[in-house]
């Protein structure tokens, strides 16, 4: 299983747009992908699950990938978050 931690750079937090991008990306992979924030863990393939966590600017959260394609999945997610300036990576 791979884990990475991120800090939100988007002013509005993980609102509809970045959340949609993230969920659409997660859905491309077989691996189980989850997001952990505020001691709660949700399926990253669920837009409503992600949005109801209300992750705001400067919050930090963890993404975990587990499965056959976990390496590619994590790479793509990191690439998306950085290139769209949604998040920056930070120490676990």
């Amino acid at each position: 299983m791979l884990n990475k931690r991120f800090r939100v750079l988007d002013e509005l937090g993980i609102h509809a747009r970045p959340a949609s991008l993230l969920v659409a990306k997660a859905q491309c992979f077989e691996s189980t992908i989850t997001v952990t924030f505020n001691e709660k863990t949700k399926d990253l393939k669920s837009l409503l699950g992600l949005m109801t966590m209300v992750i705001k600017l400067d919050d930090t959260f963890t993404i975990s990938c587990e499965g056959a394609d976990e390496i590619v999945a994590m790479e793509s997610i990191v690439k998306l978050l950085i290139s769209e300036r949604i998040c920056e990576e930070c120490q676990l």
Binding site: G13, A16, R17, A19, S20, A24, S46, L47, L48
Partner: protein
Amino acid sequence: MKVINGIPASGGISIAKIFKIFPKNLELVKVNNCDVDLESERLKDAVLNAKVEILEIVEDVIAKAGEAKAMIFRAHILMLEDPEFIGEVYSLIESENINAEFALDVVSKNLIRIFEGLDSQVFKERAIDVKDVSDRVMKYLTNSIDEGYQFTDDVIIVTNDLTPSESIRMDKKYVRGFILNVGGKTSHAAILARALEIPSVVGTKVAFDEVEDGDLVILDGDEGIVIVNPNEEQIEKYRKLKENKKEDFSEFFNKEAITLDKKKIKIYANIASNEEMNNVLKNGAEGIGLFRTEFIFMGRNTFPSEDEQFSIYKSVLEAMNESTVIIRTLDIGGDKQLPYLKEIPEENPFLGLRAIRLCLNEVGLFKTQLRALLRASAFGNLKIMFPMITVVEEMTEAKKVLEEVKSELIKEGFNLGEIGVGIMIETPSSVMLADKLIKHVDFFSIGTNDLVQYTMAADRMNENVSYLYQPSNPAILMMIKKVIDITHNHNKWTGICGEIASDLEMTPLLIGLGVDELSVISSSVPKLKKRIGNLDSKECQKLSQQALNLSSSNEVIDLLKRF
């Protein structure tokens, strides 16, 4: 045969069959012991159909407004695939053996509650998206027709009440009249009906229960009478009446409104949509005195984008060539609500967060509209008008935002035109502060509907106190006089865009008080020009002096009748 009485809300006579619109509250029935496979299959079909429909919308939006604007619909598609949404509906069908409709309703209501309870505005607002997606799936589950109504023949609509968004979705080609159980002369359905020249009778209390689909009725919007299943004689009588009513005003289309002693009054048109421009031009309005932009924001599920607004404003400015176009910024709140704007329950919405108050509170929304307006200013003669100013600070604050937006746009390289700025005078405090407010603006426009309501402290929709809605009360006339005098002292001008501007009995009084511009629905423009052409402004002045000395609305009405 039956006669139903109501309030005449929009003039004219129509004879057509009834089309009843029932309240849309879907009665959802819970069915137990369902065939789980069958219900799941039905849900699957409905979701698939909803997805195809959204994909078509996405393509349409991308083509018209670009990729970024389509994002929210992509989110809707993700919701259709969401394990916590549609996934939950499947689980509920399986665990409870219930019908798909009921399961969908339970899950979506639950989600909407969760979203509405979130502690962030941005996230809270997504409740409307859950509702939108759920409604779309429900539509396919229940095989119900879309919100718009399709007609193939002339109809007269009868219903309990009509929201502004419902009425703008109506197919104007076939709708010959509105009959409503509730409402008054100045309810928004009535205002809209007059703008569209659709005869209407409102406040009938009983019409919805007393007429049936397909009944033939005569609707007399001038007298406020509905005759259900009339006999031949009556039909003939009203046909003749209708013919005679078509007085020809065409010679006034291209004339100016000038009194016998050569005083010119500007006659502008009130509009709620750019679709009215043909009517405006045909009737010879010399400008737009009030563009109620809130109708652009109604009847939809999301905010209109800057580009969308820009193209609407631009089309109006271009249609009017170099003539004045006064566009009022969003006047929402009170009895006009937007489904996608958070609704804060208020004890007194008319004394609450509405119009400029709401715009200064939701600056993002306000700025988007101002950006669209300023960008459009390059295409004509634009004046921006702020609604419901009560204190000077609102004025200065609104102008500050306007200046900010202006310098942003200039930095971005947009070409902007010259603009004028004005305010609506519709609260007693703005009247009392008029000499302070005038220093910040180019003109005033008196919104008499609200000014009367706020001054008389009487709800125009409340039948028990609507008798106090007295536009001709000397109290109101004195206010109008004060406002006009102040603008003239500063070499500026005052217009009137409320209902009384089109009341031909009031015209001599308004001219006498010194009004510079009257803004009315376009169909009234030629009539008003004709009326003014028969008046002498000196006589009008004497009349208004007398009226100001009277002590009641009834006395003023008597005086006008004798004039």
